[in-house]
Amino acid sequence: MNQTGTVRQTMRHTQLGITDEQAVAMYEMMMLARRYDERSQLLQRAGKINFHISGITQEPSQVAMTFAMDRERDWFLPYYRDYGVVLSVGMTVKELMLSLFAKAEDPNSAGRQMPGHFGSKRLRIVTGSSPVTTQVPHAVGFALAAKMRGEKSVSIVSFGEGSSNQGDFHEGCNFAGVHKLPVIFICQNNQYAISIPFSKQSAGRIADRAIGYGFPGFRVDGNDPLEVYRVVKEARERAEAGEGPTLIEIMTYRVTPHSTSDNDLAYRTKEEVEEHKRKDAIPAFRQYLTEAGLWSDEKEAELQARQRAIIDEATEYAERAPFQPAEESWRYVYAEEDGGSR
C-alpha cells in the first residue's frame, strides 16, 4: 500500500476494479475520440471530405462499455457513432482517417464504405453496414458460435434507440433470450433518430423490453461512465457465467446534427442542444480524476499536444494516401479464385 492507498479505496473506479492506469487510459481515450471527431467536422467544413457522422457526447459511455469488456476475446459490433468503441479496441486514428478519406489503406473497407462503417477481423470488430439493426442478430450469431465452441467470448452490439424499433432487434433479442447466449445489447439512446424525437419513436422505455425476452434490462446515465462500466461489467460476468444476455439502454443526447448533411435546427432548438452540451461527461470525468490525484493541468496540456500530433499526422497521411485503384474496385465479390466481377 502506498500513501494514497486510503484515498483511492474510497474512489468509485477502484471499487469497480478499475486501476488508476485504466482510469487515466479511459479518459485519454474519451478525449481522443472527441478530438478525432472534432477534426473530422473541421475537415468536412473545409471541403476536404464529403461526410462525417459524429459521436460527440456518446464517447464517454462508449469508452467505458468497451473497457468493461475483454478486448482480447470479445466480439465488437459497433454502430456508426462508436468511435469511442473502436479506438478502445485498438483501431488507430490513422486508420479512422484513412476511412474518413475513403483511401485504399483503410482497414475497414479500403475506402469502399462510408466512414463510421467499421470492421477489422484482427481487432474482432465485425464489419457493419448502413441498414440499421442488422448487426443485432449477427451479434447473437457470434454469441451462439462462442457457446457452441465453448469459448468464453462475449459479443457486444450497439444501436440507436430509433434502430431498436426494427424487427431485427426483436428477433435477435428473443433468439438470444431463448438460448441464453453471451451477448450484450447496448442501446445508445441519444433522444433523436435523425429528426424524430424519442417520444415519436417509442412510447415505452427501451430497457423494459428485456422483460418480454426473459433477461435483465437496465437504463443507465451515459454521462456517468463509471456507472456504465459497472453495468456492462456485470452483464459481461453474467454472460460469461452462462446466464444469458443483457439489454442496456444508455441515456445520452446527440448534441451534433445527425450527420454533416443534417440541419438539426429544422426540428429542435439551439437551447435544447446547449442545455445538454453543459452535461458533457468529459470535463466531469477529468474533474473526477483530478480529485483522485490522477490528473493535472500539466498532464492535460501534454495530452492535448500528444493527441493533436497524432491527429495531425494521421490527417496528413490519409489525405495523401491513394485511393483503391478503380480496377481493384470489382475484387472480392466472391472468394478470390472466382472473385471479382463477371
Binding site: G111, Q113, M114, G162, A266, Y267, S329
Partner: protein, 328 residues
C-alpha cells in the same frame, strides 16, 4: 410552362393529390418537420398537419405494413422509404402482401398503396445509399413499378400511381432530384402507367432504358448526331412493370440495333427482360446482337471517387457503346 426540378415535381404531385383527395397521406421517416432527408416532403406537414404527413418510427416493414393496412381500409397512403437501400426490411410486406391482396381475395380486397423509394448513385453514398433494387421487385406480378427520368414524368407518374387502384412502387432517382429540370404544366395531368415514351427520334440505333442513364444517352446522342451523323432513337420505358411490350418492339424494329441501359447491375436486371422480349418477338428484324450497358455485377458501388466513377454510367460510356453499335 414553368421549368421545375424533378424533386419539386414529386413534391407538387403529392401536394396536389393531398389537396384533391383527403384520403391521400404521406408517411415515413423524417418526412415531417425535416421534410425528408432530401427535402421531398418539405412543407407537407405544415400544410396538412401531423396526421397526413406522418413521421413514423424507424421500421420499414411497419411503414409498408401499416400503409398496406390503411390502403385496404380505403386510404391512399404514400409510404416513403428513406433510401431504396433501406426498403429490404419491407420486402415481405411488399411481395407477400401488397402484391397478392387483390389476387388472393378474388378481387374482394385491394391495396392502393404507393411506395416511394430513391434509387441510384453518384452522390458519394457508397454501398448502401446508392443501390438500384429494381430487380428484387421486378419479377413479382401484382406490383406495378414506375421509374421516371424527367420532372414531367415524375409528376405525372406519381399522380397516376396515387390514383391507381393497385400497389405501385415509385422509384425516383436521387441524382435527378436537382440535376434534372424540365417543363411541367401547372394544371392537373397524369402520365399513364404502362406506356413508354420516345425521347428522341432516330434511325440508326435504338437505346432503351429508364431513369438517370437516359440523360447520358441523350447527351451522347446529340454529340453522335453532330460528330458522326449517327441518329439514335431513344425510348424511355417509364414503367417497368408492366413493361410496354408494343413500345419496346416498335422502338427496336425502328433501327434493328438495340442497346439497353440501366444503372442496376446487368445480371437479372430489367434489361434482361427487355432483351428477352425482343429476342422472342423480333429476332429476324435485328441487325446486331442485343447489347446491354449496365452497372457491373458487384454488390454495390464504392464510395471512393475513382470507384464510384468506374461504377457509374456516364455520357462517354454511353457514347462509346452507341457508336460501336452504330458501326456494327
Amino acid at each position: 410552362m414553368p421549368v421545375i426540378e424533378y424533386i419539386e415535381a414529386i413534391r407538387t404531385a403529392m401536394k396536389e393529390e393531398m389537396e384533391r383527395d383527403p384520403s391521400v397521406f404521406v408517411l415515413g421517416e423524417d418526412i415531417g418537420l425535416k421534410g425528408g432527408v432530401f427535402g421531398t416532403t418539405k412543407g407537407l406537414q405544415q400544410q396538412f398537419g401531423e396526421d397526413r404527413a406522418l413521421d413514423t418510427p424507424l421500421a420499414e416493414s411497419a411503414i409498408a405494413g401499416v400503409a398496406i393496412g390503411a390502403a385496404m381500409a380505403g386510404m391512399k397512403p404514400i409510404a416513403e422509404m428513406q433510401y431504396s437501400d433501406f426498403m429490404f426490411p419491407a420486402t415481405n410486406q411488399i411481395i407477400s402482401e401488397a402484391a397478392k391482396i387483390r389476387y388472393r381475395s378474388n378481387n374482394d380486397w385491394d391495396c392502393p398503396v404507393v411506395i416511394r423509394a430513391p434509387i441510384g448513385g453518384g452522390i458519394f453514398g457508397g454501398l448502401y445509399h446508392s443501390q438500384c433494387p429494381e430487380s428484387v421487385f421486378f419479377g413479382t406480378p401484382g406490383l406495378k413499378i414506375v421509374a421516371p427520368s424527367t420532372a414531367y414524368d415524375a409528376k405525372g407518374l406519381l399522380k397516376a400511381a396515387i390514383r391507381d387502384p393497385d400497389p405501385v412502387i415509385f422509384f425516383e432517382n436521387k441524382k435527378c432530384y436537382r440535376l434534372i429540370t424540365d417543363e411541367v404544366p401547372e394544371d392537373d395531368y397524369v402520365v399513364p402507367i404502362g406506356k413508354s415514351k420516345v425521347m428522341r427520334e432516330g434511325s440508326d440505333i435504338t437505346v432503351i432504358g429508364y431513369s438517370m442513364p437516359l440523360h447520358f444517352a441523350m447527351q451522347a446522342a446529340e454529340e453522335l448526331s453532330r460528330e458522326e451523323g449517327v441518329e439514335a432513337h431513344i425510348l424511355d420505358l417509364r414503367t417497368l412493370q408492366p413493361l410496354d411490350r408494343e413500345g419496346i418492339l416498335e422502338a427496336a424494329a425502328k433501327t434493328g440495333k438495340v442497346l439497353i441501359v440501366h444503372e442496376d447491375n446487368k445480371t437479372g436486371g430489367v434489361g434482361a427482360e427487355v432483351s428477352a422480349i425482343i429476342a422472342e418477338e423480333l429476332l429476324y428484324d435485328l441487325d446486331a446482337p442485343i447489347r446491354r450497358l449496365c452497372a457491373p455485377d458487384v454488390p454495390a458501388m464504392p464510395i471512393n471517387p475513382p470507384g464510384e466513377k468506374h461504377f457509374l454510367l456516364n455520357k462517354d460510356k454511353l457514347k462509346a457503346a452507341m457508336l460501336e453499335l452504330a458501326r456494327y
